[in-house]
């Protein structure tokens, strides 16, 4: 038959192996983070009981040998880095196997979002180290909460959404795939990190002397800062993603904006995140409510990924030229 496209099955198989291994490594890292979290919680409760202030107290200068929690946490971060490397190579191999950008279907797109989330998380962690080792350690305890949605999403992508390595339909054969979908997955992954930070911010609550499982969470301000800074970077990227999507739609579908379900929900998410940024500048909304808005924003992003792609039929279901 004419126009037979070639798929390099060997590379595709290696890509799948790398993907699954990365997922398992993330899972290990998550468990180690949980171990660190549990140990920290005990320590923090002890501190609170002793009346020596909240959990945001930095470690004393004369550093004792690393605690078990510390070692757990450090190993978890090292594993996360390893996982991210494998994860990245799985995407690169997928791309090499099908001779195109490796985000042409929902499996690949979800995988890219997860990779961005993990890398984004590592960057946040790295930047917080510059602000002091104590704060990095504080922030590190939430690693399991960042990795949890990543592992779930990767599991769903690898099973329910999995698509065999194959060429994409003609409408997707455009350099805009590289631009638009990259921007969408980068912002999506970053919104995931921001959403987790805001959710934990809400979990932690307003009380200054938190106890129990909340005690090991980073300070409210630290969580709020992570959520805001990540969103501030992700929002213009998301704006760019929508605009390049519109430019692409103008070339592929005959109009730059047509309220296709995917477009509509992308617009809703944009408005919600714009609301978040405004809420941060409005008295009475600055903290608690803003965090709710941020969490809601990520919920809309997830809705757009799953519900609109799987349930609602639209242009983004790639029904094609037919």
């Amino acid at each position: 038959m004419p126009g037979v496209a070639i798929v390099n099955e060997t590379l595709a198989t290696y890509s799948d192996y790398a993907y699954r291994t990365a997922m398992v490594i993330y899972l290990f890292a998550m468990v180690l983070h949980l171990g660190e979290y549990a140990r920290d919680r005990v320590a923090a409760s002890a501190l609170v009981a002793a009346g020596s202030g909240g959990p945001s107290v930095d470690e004393p200068a004369g550093r004792p040998p690393r605690s078990r929690a510390e070692r757990f946490g450090r190993t978890a971060v090292a594993l996360t880095i390893l996982g991210a490397l494998l994860h990245a190579s799985s995407l690169v191999l997928r791309g090499a196997a099908v001779y195109r950008w490796p985000w042409g279907n929902m499996y690949e797109f979800s995988s890219a979002i997860c990779l961005v989330a993990v890398v984004g998380w590592l960057v946040v962690l790295h930047r917080s180290r510059r602000a002091g080792a104590g704060r990095a350690a504080q922030l590190r305890t939430i690693g399991s909460f960042v990795l949890l949605p990543v592992v779930i999403l990767m599991f769903l992508a690898g099973t329910v959404l999995y698509a065999n390595a194959a060429p994409v339909m003609p409408a997707l054969r455009s350099y805009w795939l590289a631009i638009h979908v990259t921007a969408a997955s980068v912002s999506g992954g970053m919104f995931l990190v921001a959403g987790v930070a805001s959710a934990l911010f809400l979990v932690r609550g307003t009380a200054t002397d938190v106890t129990g499982y909340k005690a090991a969470l980073p300070a409210r301000d630290a969580l709020d800062r992570v959520a805001y800074r990540v969103t501030v970077i992700a929002f213009p990227i998301w704006t760019f993603a929508i605009m390049t999507g519109a430019i692409w739609a103008e070339a592929a579908w005959g109009r730059f904006w047509g309220w296709d379900p995917k477009e509509t929900v992308a617009f809703v998410a944009w408005v919600v995140y714009a609301g978040y940024l405004h809420a941060r500048a409005t008295a009475g909304w600055r903290t608690g409510r803003a965090a709710w808005v941020n969490v809601f924003g990520f919920a809309v992003m997830l809705f757009n990924l799953f519900f609109v792609n799987l349930v609602v039929a639209g242009f983004h279901s790639y029904a094609g030229v037919n």
Binding site: M1, P2, G3, V4, A5, S56, A131, G132, R135, A166, P167, M169, P170, A171, R173, A219, D221, A222, D224, R225, Y228, R229, V232, I233, P236, F240, M243, E250, A251, A252, W253, G254, R255, F256, W257, G258, W259, D260, P261, T264, V265, F267, V268, V271, V272, G275, H278, A279, R280, A281, T282, A283, W285, R286, V300, G314, A319, G320, V321, N322
Partner: protein, 592 residues
């Protein structure tokens, strides 16, 4: 947000009664305006906008799929009509959606106008006065250096190139330098919001003056000219378009080629077309045609319009030889019954030529209707296995009689009118499967031959005169957003106090302070550089621990300076408001 509608009449003359009434009305207007332009309202409207848009994704929409809407209403006899009445199936054309975004944009303009004026004023204003006590600033350092204050001032000025600088001689003989930078942040913010208004206007203009038409053209050199609405199969236009002044151009479709993967998934679609526009049209169809390969993702842009390849399908070509020896060859497009295998269905309707008697003509019309499989499964019941025409086969019924084409009722080109069949005016005379080149003979000797296969393409012509403006404003939106979210507004102060001891060579106490008006993060590094360059190694000695300088580290608990949320110049977060003029007895530089 600040306000410009200061009602003057309130302070004008006496007239107590009129004044109170008028005053009340004005107060109401003023309060309404204030309420509408407040950030809280804007926030509420933003969330309302998000909420109002959601049904557009959750419910079927007329503009996208009208049949689905009808199905939805049919399945819900009580809820459906109600939603229909409330405009939930045309969310983005509904009055309530328009109300939300128009209110939002009124609020936005009401907020932008005073802020733009304020920005214009602030742009000309000098930086704020240097606070008395610089050590209270989030960033602070001081050192005693060799050199007179004048020399130091030179150095400071040189270093602060690019900053807006004001130098003040203070009463005590000190020289205070106040510098500010990052004005572009607010400029970006304003550009972003103004460009959003432009974007909305551009989109609205496109809807008013734009049109979109769809037409099916058979391959093999058939033409379509954009001369009027009647040439289209469907046409949707803005209210300012009456269809009389379309941009003239003609399209000639020569060929269509589709490639498929072994599993039947499409690989590429390409229509080879030619086009003429403007003065070239005078030459007529015989004149020169510009060749173009029309593909998905590659529309033809001609005469201010865009031409898209939307779809394609097959048209079986029938040659009918009537008993009298007259032949007619007809190809009519058949529509897709299955978009994956391109199984098609349709009705090819043929008038017998040479019939002068009207009743006789009407009773001898022929319709060939049924299914077409490009790659036939074979067997009695034909289905399609593959979208390319590898082994075409038809399964047809042939009708003869009165098709009802002249009875004034519209009918589908894809079906025979079942009413004609029911009334007996149209009779089924044959049923057969036909491969390419095969024929069947009707009872009266008429021969129906499946001679060849043609293809059709469906084209869309779009016209949106405001499209380029929408793009310009979109770029401005992005540029403004990037600017406002990356640039930090920050202040930097230097106080130079001559050391008056021993009468030796001039020495100066140089004290510096810094404050980021928006986001503290990142300013620490810039401040550290400034300190190193202005104070040299001495600077750090004076200071208590270097970790205080790296960005956000030292502000952990103090929400005031931290949040980075304070874009709006709220006085709380503005260093000058807090620190200015607070007479501080411990300030060594102040007073006597």
């Amino acid at each position: 947000m600040s306000l410009t509608t200061e009602p003057r009449t309130e302070t004008a003359g006496p007239a107590p009664r009129g004044r109170t009434t008028l005053g009340r009305v004005l107060a109401l207007l003023r309060n309404t305006w204030r309420g509408l332009t407040s950030m809280r309202t804007a926030l509420t409207l933003l969330f309302l906008l998000a909420l109002a848009a959601l049904p557009g994704a959750l419910l079927p929409q007329r503009s996208l799929n009208s049949a689905k809407v009808d199905q939805y209403i049919q399945n819900r006899p009580t809820l459906g009509p109600l939603l229909q009445k409330l405009g939930f199936f045309e969310v983005f054309a509904s009055s309530w959606f328009a109300a939300v975004y128009l209110l939002l944009f009124v609020s936005l303009i009401g907020c932008l106008t005073p802020r733009t004026l304020e920005y214009a004023r602030a742009f000309r204003a000098a930086p704020v006065v240097t606070p008395r006590n610089l050590s209270r600033m989030p960033h602070h350092a001081s050192a005693t250096l060799d050199g007179t204050p004048a020399q130091m001032l030179e150095k400071v000025r040189a270093r602060l190139r690019g900053w807006r600088v004001a130098v003040v001689e203070e009463p005590g003989g000190d020289v205070a330098v106040s510098a500010e930078r990052g004005y572009l942040r607010e400029a970006g913010n304003l550009v972003f919001h103004i460009a959003l208004v432009g974007l909305l206007i551009g989109i609205a203009a496109g809807k008013l003056y734009g049109y979109e038409g769809q037409v099916i053209v058979m391959t093999g050199g058939n033409q379509f000219c954009n001369t009027g609405i009647l040439g289209y199969d469907s046409f949707k236009a803005g209210t300012r378009v009456d269809g009389t002044a379309l941009d003239p151009f003609c399209i000639k479709v020569d060929d269509f080629d589709a490639q498929y993967l072994p599993n039947g998934a499409p690989d590429s679609f390409r229509a080879s077309i030619g086009y003429q526009s403007g003065a070239e049209l005078d030459a007529g169809p015989g004149g020169p045609w510009h060749p173009y390969q029309l593909e998905v993702n590659s529309p033809l842009r001609v005469a201010g319009d865009r031409v898209y390849l939307l779809g394609h399908g097959y048209a079986p070509v029938f040659t009918v030889t009537f008993p009298g020896g007259e032949t007619r060859t007809v190809a009519t497009q058949w529509r897709l019954a299955d978009p994956n295998t391109l199984l098609s269905e349709g009705a090819t309707k043929i008038d017998r030529p040479g019939m002068t008697d009207e009743t006789q003509r009407r009773s001898s019309q022929i319709a060939i209707t049924g299914l077409f499989a490009p790659t036939s499964s074979g067997g009695k019941v034909v289905t399609s296995l593959y979208p390319a025409p590898l082994d075409p086969e038809l399964a047809v019924d042939v009708y003869r009689g009165d098709l009802g084409l002249d009875n004034g009722r519209g009918q589908s080109i894809f079906e025979v009118d079942q009413r004609q069949v029911a009334s007996g005016a149209l009779k089924k005379v044959a049923r057969s499967n036909l491969k390419l080149g095969q024929q069947l003979v009707l009872d009266d000797g008429t021969v129906v031959r499946f001679g060849s296969l043609s293809q059709w393409v469906s084209l869309q012509v779009s016209h949106d005169p405001a499209e380029k403006w929408v793009l310009v404003f979109a770029v401005l939106v992005l540029a403004g957003l990037g600017t406002s979210l990356t640039i930090r507004r920050r202040r930097f102060w230097v106080r130079l106090r001559p050391v008056r001891d021993a009468g030796g060579p001039g020495r100066t106490v140089v004290e510096i302070g810094g404050l980021a008006r928006t986001d503290q993060a990142g300013y620490g590094e810039e401040f550290t550089r400034l300190r190193a360059e202005l104070l040299g190694g001495d600077g750090s000695e004076n200071h208590d621990g270097s970790e205080n300088h790296d960005g956000s580290a030292n502000h952990d608990g103090s929400a005031n300076h931290d949040g980075s949320a304070n874009h709006d110049g709220s006085a709380n977060h503005d260093g000058s408001a807090n620190h200015d003029g607070s007479a501080n007895v411990t300030d060594p530089g102040g007073g006597s």
